[in-house]
């Protein structure tokens, strides 16, 4: 009747309004039996951190295509730390150049999935890494 479900926040920070990719991921995670809180486009880092806290999610997935990831992702990670939510698994997708990946990994963004990643890869990564 009540099993522990993996809860995922899917958010699109920044100003680009292209959320098809985020919706595809949300749907794939739903079909994998996860509870996906979908917050929509144009989320500020503050909104993402607040939603993650209230929803008590295990995972945050952020998608960004505008190129602002190096400005927005660090802010989200900082806010999560402030809220004592370091244990949340953070993954990212969208258009993220390879040279930025090591910096983002260091920051604690553990999975980075570019265009064309099979959804099963992402589902598998979340299942393995969620604490």
């Amino acid at each position: 009747m009540t099993d522990k479900k993996i809860r995922v926040l899917v958010a699109k920070p920044g100003l680009d309004g292209h959320d098809r990719g985020a919706k595809v991921i949300a749907r794939a995670l739903r079909d994998a039996g996860m509870e996906v809180v979908y917050t929509g486009i144009r989320q500020t880092p503050e909104m993402i951190a607040e939603a993650a806290l209230q929803e008590d999610v295990d995972v945050i997935g952020m998608s960004i295509l505008s190129g602002a990831h190096m400005a927005l992702f660090p802010k989200v990670m900082e806010l999560l730390r402030e809220n004592g939510m370091d244990d949340v698994l953070v993954v990212a997708g969208g258009i993220i150049p390879d040279e930025d990946v090591p910096t983002l990994n260091e920051m604690g963004i553990e999975g980075i999935f570019g265009p064309g990643t099979p959804t099963e890869t992402i589902v598998g990564f979340i299942r393995e890494n969620v604490s």
Partner: protein
């Protein structure tokens, strides 16, 4: 008292979020936590918002919460906890919880707490744990707890048991006046919001609801005439000769659900809707209905807990092999399920 309980009572947001997860997952400490929170509940006004998918429930909740946070000339600002329930997939067990999309205006306000819940197989429009999550928000000190149900059709009426005031959201064009007299969701309304009131057919929708209410009180004002819904000017209320109600009659008069037209996206009619919700609360208190509803709710809750606990105990002490054998015999029509249940429950003497 556990740290978590103390932190919830102090209104700490991370603790509130964790406590809700705890009751959702029915973890080992869930019962103990709820038991410790129980004495601190009962203060919040619980408002249910239900209606068909796409009728604008989330947008209305967003607008209502903004209004209650601000307050107005007559009303103090209130803090608002929101529980938004969306359906769980019957196939994968997963869910998309999308109600926050319409509530982005509420971000960054420490007097607001929004939590999305998946229905997890419950069919009444709520999740099993919704009533317990309400308790967490109530104990954490929110003045108002708004519960938005799964998009509901006709029969998802659990919210009426969980809320003090139930708002049923309708939109123009959904059905005729026979839809309006069917049993179910329309019967549980304390307040009607006819949302998307800028759409064609809004007056017809309002009239159909009014007719339903008039049938209830036998003061017919709207009638179906040659297949068209018409309003009759000289209803009982409007008759100049009708005897005025005595003061006592007015005090005990049944609540007639007001019908409020709203356009949630433009925040039109929100003031009136909020006023109707608060008027209903005042009516509950003055008429003694509040106490009766609390008691009825306590009865329903106790019954549910006993059911779940009995089931848990029976399953815990039943050997899985024995259960399997019984199921097999029932499937073969070798045994009926009633006798099997009696056997599992045991005679009253067995522990």
């Amino acid at each position: 008292m556990s740290d978590l309980v103390a932190q919830v009572l102090a209104g700490q947001r991370r603790a509130i979020a964790r406590a809700i997860s705890l009751v959702e997952n029915d973890g080992a400490q869930a019962q103990a936590t709820l038991a410790a929170l129980h004495p601190h509940t009962g203060r919040a006004h619980v408002v249910g918002v239900t209606g068909p998918p796409g009728s604008g429930k989330s947008t209305l909740v967003n607008a209502l919460a903004l209004h209650f946070r601000r307050g107005d000339e007559e009303q103090m600002p209130r803090t608002v906890g929101i529980l938004a329930v969306d359906p769980t997939s019957p196939f994968s067990g997963g869910a998309i919880l999308g109600d926050r999309i319409r509530m982005r205006d509420l971000a960054g306000d420490a007097g607001i707490f929004i939590r999305s819940m998946a229905s997890r197989g419950n069919l009444g429009g709520l999740a099993w744990a919704t009533a317990d999550a309400v308790k967490v928000l109530d104990a954490a000190g929110f003045d108002l707890v708004i519960v938005e149900t799964v998009g509901a059709g006709q029969a998802e009426v659990d919210i009426a048991r969980a809320a003090h005031t139930t708002v049923v959201v309708e939109v123009p064009g959904l059905g005729d006046d026979v839809q309006a007299i069917k049993a179910g969701i329309l019967e549980i309304a304390d307040v009607f919001a006819v949302n998307k009131a800028d759409l064609e057919g809004v007056d017809h929708a309002v009239m159909a609801l009014r007719m339903m209410l008039d049938l209830d009180t036998r003061t017919g004002q709207s009638v179906m005439h040659h297949g068209r819904l018409m309003e009759v000017a000289a209803g009982a209320d409007a008759q100049p000769g009708a005897a005025p109600q005595s003061e006592e009659e007015q005090a005990t008069a049944p609540w007639r659900p007001p019908i409020v037209k709203t356009v949630a996206t433009r925040r039109e009619g929100i003031l009136e809707l909020a006023a109707a919700i608060l008027a209903h609360r005042a009516h509950l208190e003055e008429s003694g209905m509040l106490a009766r509803r609390q008691r009825a709710r306590a009865a329903a809750e106790l019954e549910t807990i006993i059911q779940q606990e009995s089931l848990r105990r029976v399953l815990a002490r039943t050997d899985p092999g024995e259960l399997e054998t019984l199921l097999e015999r029932i499937a073969r029509r070798d045994l009926d399920p009633y006798a099997a249940a009696q056997e599992l429950l045991g005679s009253p003497q067995t522990p």
